[in-house]
């Protein structure tokens, strides 16, 4: 009771003093802003990995709508009790704050397993936000990534090898090499196969490259869809598994692609007044192309060329000594005005018979006019 009376007397005395001075003015009291941290990317709940990025946004509320400056500091930690002394990132920014999570701490060789974010703020009149905001983000181990590719120098034909390349990336665990294992699932008829290291693929690895590259050769003995499964693990995160389908096809028929000189279609005939070299320039085929490349596995061969001539008054004669891709005709060997047919037929190692009638200038053993095995030059000797 006595205390309440004293307080009342004090207030009265203060008001009386102000009234006696004749003027009453006071500054508005600047209130502190308040802060919050929002995680923009990745969204909360989605794992954050070492060598990954995190984007945070500062949200402020100032009662007087004053502008608020932000100060970010981020510390690398092993857990909530063990962080680096100094922040690994520190920025004054009003923008969203992008953090690149380091692989390891500065104060110790340990991998970063959490980051501690501090956000402080101050409005334009110097009022500091209280309390400073903190955010703990757990950092996970990134499982290895696998990118699979396939290549066949033989158009994925049966019995020829297919190169399967696995690019394995594990950026947060270097320099340890992720463990990679391979499995092959065969088509339903379960043809035999082998899968071996591809000596032509040199192991690319950090630091020259950002990834580890492994190569295998799959040698299939039957056609169909093979599934190659590659598993990579860094020993910490769950294994990563990727598959690739390899479609193995039968040996295709060879196709005449480019020839010279011009092939004439009856009734037209190519005029020939001087010795002329008739050439098949390009045969496309999986195993027996022309020209033939020097392949690493020695599987490629040249197609079989069969040439024949039909001159007036005689039967078609096979030029049995000619096995290459070209033959010369000399008009002096014929009479002017003669119509001579020069025919070339090709076959791959399967020697599929060409069954079209002799009168057919062209023939396709697969009934595809875009892939001929027979072509006939109709030549007029001049």
């Amino acid at each position: 009771m006595v205390a309440a009376q004293r307080k009342l007397v004090g207030r009265f005395a203060l008001i009386s003093l102000l009234a006696v001075s004749g003027c009453f003015y006071t500054e508005t009291v600047n209130q502190r802003p308040s802060l919050d941290i929002e995680q923009e990317e990745p969204e909360p709940g989605i794992p954050v990995y070492r060598e990954g990025d995190v984007t945070l946004r500062a949200v402020s509320h100032d009662p007087e709508n004053h502008f608020v400056w932000f100060q970010w500091r981020v510390y690398a930690c092993s857990d909530q009790t063990d962080c680096d002394q100094a922040p690994f990132d520190e920025q004054s920014s009003n923008s969203p704050f992008k953090i690149h999570v380091p692989k390891s701490r500065v104060d110790s060789p340990e991998a970063v397993q959490a980051i501690h974010v501090w956000l402080e703020g101050q409005d334009e009149y110097g009022a500091n936000a209280r309390p400073a905001q903190q955010l703990w983000i757990t950092v996970d181990d990134h499982p290895p990534t696998i990118e699979l590719g396939q290549f066949s120098a033989y158009d994925f034909v049966v019995t020829a090898p297919v190169q399967v390349i696995a690019k394995v990336d594990d950026p947060d665990d270097g320099p340890s090499v992720p463990q990679v294992s391979w499995k092959v699932y065969t088509p339903s008829n379960q043809p035999a196969y082998t899968i071996v290291d591809d000596p032509s693929v040199v192991l690319d690895k950090p630091p020259l490259d950002d990834f580890y590259e492994y190569g295998k050769l799959l040698w299939p003995s039957g056609t169909g869809k093979y599934t190659v499964e590659v598993t990579a693990t860094d020993g910490i995160a769950p294994p990563t598994v990727q598959t690739i389908e390899v479609n193995i096809v039968p040996d295709r028929a060879p196709c005449l692609r480019t020839m010279t000189p011009l092939v004439a279609v009856a009734p037209a005939a190519l005029p020939m007044s001087e010795p002329t070299l008739f050439q098949v320039l390009v045969v496309s085929d999986d195993l027996d192309p022309y020209p033939t490349a020097n392949d690493a596995h020695g599987l490629l061969d040249t197609p079989r060329f069969t040439w024949s001539v039909l001159a007036p008054g005689g039967p078609r004669q096979v030029l049995s000594g000619v096995t290459g891709n070209s033959v010369a005709l000399n008009p002096a060997s014929y009479q002017p005005g003669d119509i001579v047919e020069l025919r070339v037929e090709i076959a791959d190692r399967n020697l599929t018979p060409i069954t079209c009638g002799d009168g057919n200038a062209t023939c396709s053993v697969i009934a595809d006019n875009g892939c001929l095995q027979r072509q006939t030059w109709r030549v007029e000797v001049r």
Partner: protein, 583 residues
């Protein structure tokens, strides 16, 4: 010391030809960069322009950048055959390096660059020459599988070192039009051979129809077009095609008449007469019963040397005649067989091998007669004999007229079994036509280091009387041990080529050799690898035929490839060319 060309190509342009040479192939530019809106880009240059392998003198490589957005940084790599090559920094800002190329060949220089938009990396290949390299010139012919026209260029191959040489083709212009009779303006059918004037061997052919005309792609160069009309009454003609040409006009040309007379002086029926000048033929005519003929020609102006060919009908026993002169086509062009020319009949002459008659053997009597066999337009003509006959079931020839003289008999017992023997018909007393057995040439194909190489194709192309008889070439492939067996006609002459389809070695050629001259120890020459990509415009060309051809040859040899390959599924090619060596 010259500097390699370092030009930032600031505007789109066309690159002609296949000679990648020393022009940096690493230009990256853009005129639409952010920031200043100006042109931005980079390119690697190097000096000396034609670097030679040296263990002392370095090669300097440098990057020029245009309009960087900040201070560029450079990260370099130099590799040869995918192996790293040491280099040193030559400029404080990192934009230059130097490296020693002690071994000749292609070196890949790459720079990763920052702060230059559209130029995060740039790369070039530097062909380092061998010291004292010999130079050989070839034709490089590319025939794309697509509608891009075939193109040729002359290339220099420097000995002792592989090289990278991108092939950049022109996409070509559409050439569309009709062939018209200039007298009636009617569309006609015709055979067309478009020959670029600067490289006629890179020709393109088409048949034009009267309904749809012709359509093809051509390089934008002036062409000579050989037009051979498919209708009577019009003369073949060489016309000019430019990028603005549509219709190709041919007319009746000039008429040349004459008479072919046999040895008796009488008109000779059934003979074929044709004229040629400036690469253009006349129409072809067959003489009437009185020996008269009439041909139409429209030869190029200035083609004054005219070749006349006369082919007698089969069975006449007379030789073919040919003469070249500045004939006056406005007057009668008469052909006269020499009165001294007589024939004899080979009826019942046996064809034998080892004393045994050869049923159904085909015999070609070929050769040239001594002396003058006839004249054309008053000019003595050369002659060639080619008479064919097939023995009966008893191995004897039917009635077969041949001219009298020293000739050759080429006997064909099968398409791969031929024989040559001399035959003298002067006295009309030929007892037999001998067909000696084939001679098999056994040998081995070898690498330049003398070890055996298998899979090499040995090809014997008949020349001389065998070619006149129309004998086809013989081709065999050496086995895994390099062994080959080439069956040839004894007494024949051949152009022999050894070709490795797998391009491990260069081709070995022995021209105009007898059977004894065929290399039995076929030491294949060392090859150089020329490689690169084939593009037309911005497109990679897949499955394009690429041939290396003789630059100075004529006729058939000009068309025969020294080496050939095709671009692969990503437009890359590799071709093995003969190594010109070093001094």
């Amino acid at each position: 010391m010259r500097s390699a060309l370092v030009i930032l190509v600031l505007a789109a342009g066309c690159s002609m030809g296949a000679d990648g040479g020393n022009t940096p192939d690493a230009t990256n530019t853009s005129d639409a960069g952010p920031g200043d809106g100006g042109v931005q880009g980079c390119a690697i240059g190097y000096d000396p322009m034609d670097p030679v392998a040296s263990s002392v003198l370095p090669i300097r490589a440098f990057v020029n950048v245009v309009n960087p957005t900040g201070i560029p940084t450079y990260s370099w790599t130099v590799t040869r055959n995918s192996s790293p090559v040491a280099f040193t920094q030559q400029a404080a800002d990192g934009s230059q390096i130097g490296f020693i190329a002690a071994t000749p060949g292609p070196y890949v220089v790459r720079a990763d660059i920052t702060n230059v938009p559209f130029c995060s990396e740039t790369q070039t290949t530097i062909n380092v020459e061998a010291p004292g390299a010999n130079i050989e010139v070839f034709r490089l012919r590319t025939v794309p599988a697509s509608s891009v026209p075939p193109q040729e260029t002359l290339i220099q191959v420097k000995g002792g070192a592989d090289a990278v040489r991108p092939i950049t083709l022109q996409t070509g212009l559409d050439a569309i039009g009709f062939v018209k009779n200039s007298a009636t303006s009617a569309n006609i059918a015709a055979y067309l051979k478009f020959m670029p004037r600067s490289m006629p061997t890179a020709f393109s052919e088409r048949f034009a129809s009267s309904a749809t005309g012709y359509s093809l792609k051509l390089v934008p160069l002036d062409h000579d077009v050989l037009v051979i009309p498919g209708v009577a009454g019009l003369a073949p003609k060489l016309v000019t095609w430019t990028a603005f040409t549509t219709d190709l006009l041919v007319g009746p040309g000039n008429v040349t008449t004459g008479t072919v007379r046999g040895p008796s002086g009488a008109g000779f029926a059934g003979a074929n007469v044709q004229l040629y000048a400036g690469g253009v033929p006349s129409t072809s005519a067959t003489t009437a019963a009185d020996g008269s003929y009439s041909v139409r020609s429209d030869f190029p102006t200035g083609a004054t040397q005219i070749t006349v060919k006369v082919t007698p009908p089969p069975g006449s026993g007379l030789p073919r005649l040919e003469a070249t002169s500045a004939f006056n086509l406005a007057s009668a062009l008469n052909v006269t067989y020499a009165a001294s020319l007589t024939t004899c009949d080979l009826a019942n002459t046996p064809v034998r091998r080892g004393g045994v008659n050869q049923p159904n053997a085909q015999v070609n009597i070929v050769g040239g007669l001594a002396g003058v066999a006839g004249s054309i337009g008053g000019v003595n003509a050369t002659n060639s004999v080619r008479v064919s006959a097939t023995a009966d079931g008893a191995g004897q020839l039917p009635s077969t007229l041949v001219p009298r003289g020293s000739l050759s008999a080429v006997t064909e017992l099968s398409m791969s079994d031929h024989a040559i023997s001399a035959i003298d018909t002067s006295g009309c007393s030929v007892a037999q036509i001998n067909a000696p057995a084939m001679t098999t040439i056994n040998g081995t194909t070898r690498y330049p280091n003398n070890t055996a190489i298998g899979g090499v194709r040995a090809e014997a192309e008949p020349i001389g009387v065998l070619a006149l008889a129309g004998v086809a070439p013989i081709q065999v492939v050496s086995n895994a041990s390099g062994a080959f067996a080439l069956p040839l006609a004894g007494g024949g002459r051949y152009n022999v080529r050894f070709i490795d389809p797998q391009q491990r070695v260069a081709s070995l050629v022995a021209n105009d050799v007898a059977t004894t001259g065929v290399p039995t120890n076929a030491l294949m020459p060392k090859a150089l690898a020329i490689s690169g990509t084939v593009t037309a415009g911005a497109n990679l060309l897949l499955g394009a035929s690429i041939q290396i051809l003789c630059a100075t040859c004529l006729g058939l040899e000009a068309a025969r490839p020294i080496a050939e390959t095709a671009s692969d599924s990503v437009g890359k090619y590799l071709i093995a060319v003969p190594d010109p060596g070093t001094m």
